[in-house]
């Protein structure tokens, strides 16, 4: 599904990723873990196309998408929820959703489905997204991503700032989608528990390189903790 090979990328003169290879197999969820500043978000930004890699390749369903602009990648089935509860502030919650639903055949239905998944948004439809609380904005961001009916959902710390019982729901939603609709997930997550429960494969990123990787599942937790301590 997604194959990242020897990816190098950074900002201006500073290289952040020094040759990272990460694969999301056709039937799996992959988690990326790592410290603050390890380059996790940078990796996702490169996959989505917000920054331009200086070397390496990104194959999506066999096609090298490294030269495509982000919206073209979205059209091919990628969806991205960036870190930091981003949304379109001056637009209302509903407009945020319709924005991505526009031009899709099932647009209207997709918005409704997303709202069913995040019922907390329903009373907020007419409020401008810029006025929502952090957690509300984050739910909106995930809902927006799901409306594009992605085949690969890329999430950057999706549960950051979300209340515990909703975290559990989000976790459940994502895992359900992955197993039922065949949507694949590339997840950056600091909660080792969630990251590994969800993941079939995990990668630990340290200082811009993959320092360890393996099969997911709760049993991997110890290995990952040790890997991250070094």
């Amino acid at each position: 599904m997604l194959e990242i090979k020897d990816l190098k990328a950074g900002y201006g003169r500073t290289e952040v990723l020094h040759g990272v290879s990460v694969t999301v197999p056709d039937d799996a969820v992959a988690s990326v873990l790592g410290h603050n500043g390890a380059g996790k978000s940078t990796l996702l930004r490169a996959v989505v196309g917000i920054i331009k890699p200086t070397a390496g390749s990104i194959l999506f369903n066999g096609e090298d998408i490294a030269g495509l602009r982000p919206h073209q990648r979205v059209a091919r089935g990628l969806a991205y929820v960036p870190q930091g509860q981003q949304s379109f502030g001056p637009l209302t919650t509903l407009e945020n959703l319709r924005l991505v639903a526009d031009g899709r055949k099932r647009g209207k239905a997709l918005v409704d489905e997303a709202l069913d998944m995040f019922p907390a948004l329903k009373p907020l439809l007419a409020r401008r997204a810029g006025l929502l609380s952090g957690g509300q904005r984050q739910q909106l961001a995930i809902a927006r991503a799901l409306i594009t009916e992605p085949t690969l959902l890329i999430l950057d710390e999706p549960t950051e700032g979300i209340q515990p019982n909703v975290v559990a729901e989000i976790e459940q939603t994502i895992m359900n989608l992955a197993s039922r609709s065949g949507m694949r997930v590339l997840l950056v997550e600091q909660h080792i528990g969630f990251a590994l429960r969800a993941a079939d494969t995990y990668y630990v990123l340290a200082a811009g390189r993959v320092s360890s990787s393996g099969r997911g599942g709760a049993s991997a937790a110890e290995t990952v903790r040790t890997a991250m301590l070094i």
Binding site: I50, V74, E95, N96, L131
Partner: protein
């Protein structure tokens, strides 16, 4: 009485000219954050389009109607070129766009001078717009009525575009956060181009309108640019209805000031009024509140 009605209408009519000049800006400035000082020259391009169309078609009546869409295209295309060549790399430095486009406006004025010559050219008013109708004894020029109607039509069309169409949503989304828009599947380039095309096209239409009442010369732009920006600022950036209210308010206010004092003092008073107004509402008539630093 007669004079009073005449003056009321003069205010509205001045407001409609201001609104036409400012509508496009409320898109390119209000929505996209570009401070396009060449907007005045796009207006000028619209005016010269009316001239060229009239030279080609001969008939003033038909040519006015042809000029409107033609000027929209000409203004829009110039905007597109400007966006593509320069502005697209400057969205993160809005203040710099002011200076770059000031340079562009100098160049465009000189280009117009080199093509059409320095003296103003004559765009004839079609027969059906010559003269006036009487309203309780006050003559209401048909040209002014036409401009008022044109401004209101453009206003309605633009408001509809922004509020109720997918393009409108995109325009508003892209300006907030390009990267997020891109990664939500929106082509920010396409959206920027369309927005700028429409905004600059509106300047072209304004240009056709002003040929009916003023001169068509290379130096037409600077007459409108400062006032047009003031309208957008007073209305609240990105607020179409704010711009509309501000335009008519300024129009009426100016004609009152001008009537009771002189044109020069009137201009100064208008500015003082705006500064005082911004003390009360620093973000203009309408504002979008956002939270803390988010």
């Amino acid at each position: 009485m007669e004079l009073l009605i005449g003056q009321m209408f003069a205010g509205l009519s001045l407001g409609s000219v201001l609104l036409l000049a400012a509508l496009g800006l409320s898109l390119t400035f209000g929505q996209m954050g570009v401070i396009n000082m060449a907007h005045g020259e796009f207006i000028m391009a619209g005016a010269y389009t009316a001239f060229v169309v009239q030279q080609t078609l001969g008939s003033a009546g038909a040519s006015l109607l042809v000029s409107l869409p033609a000027a929209f295209l000409v203004g829009g295309t110039m905007g597109l070129i400007l966006e593509e060549l320069l502005l697209k790399r400057m969205y993160h430095r809005p203040l710099d766009t002011l200076l770059v486009t000031f340079g562009v406006s100098l160049i465009l004025q000189q280009v117009a001078r080199d093509i059409f010559g320095a003296p103003s050219v004559d765009v004839r008013v079609p027969a059906w717009l010559q003269g006036n109708v009487e309203l309780l004894g006050a003559p209401i020029p048909l040209t002014r009525l036409f401009i008022l109607a044109l401004a209101l039509t453009c206003l309605a069309a633009l408001a509809l575009l922004l509020k109720a169409t997918p393009l409108g949503r995109r325009i508003r989304a892209v300006v907030v956060n390009r990267d997020l828009a891109e990664s939500s599947g929106i082509s920010s380039r396409r959206t920027d181009q369309l927005t700028f095309f429409v905004g600059s096209g509106l300047a072209g239409i304004a240009g056709v309108a002003v040929t009916l009442i003023g001169s068509t010369s290379p130096y037409l732009g600077p007459n409108y640019i400062v006032d047009a920006f003031l309208v957008v600022v007073a209305g609240g950036i990105g607020q179409i209805k704010g711009a509309a209210i501000a335009a008519f308010a300024l129009g009426v206010l100016q004609s009152v000031f001008e009537f009771s004092t002189t044109a020069s003092i009137g201009k100064v008073l208008i500015l003082a009024a705006i500064v005082i107004f911004l003390q009360v509402r620093p973000q203009g008539i309408f504002t979008l509140k956002t939270r803390s630093l988010a």
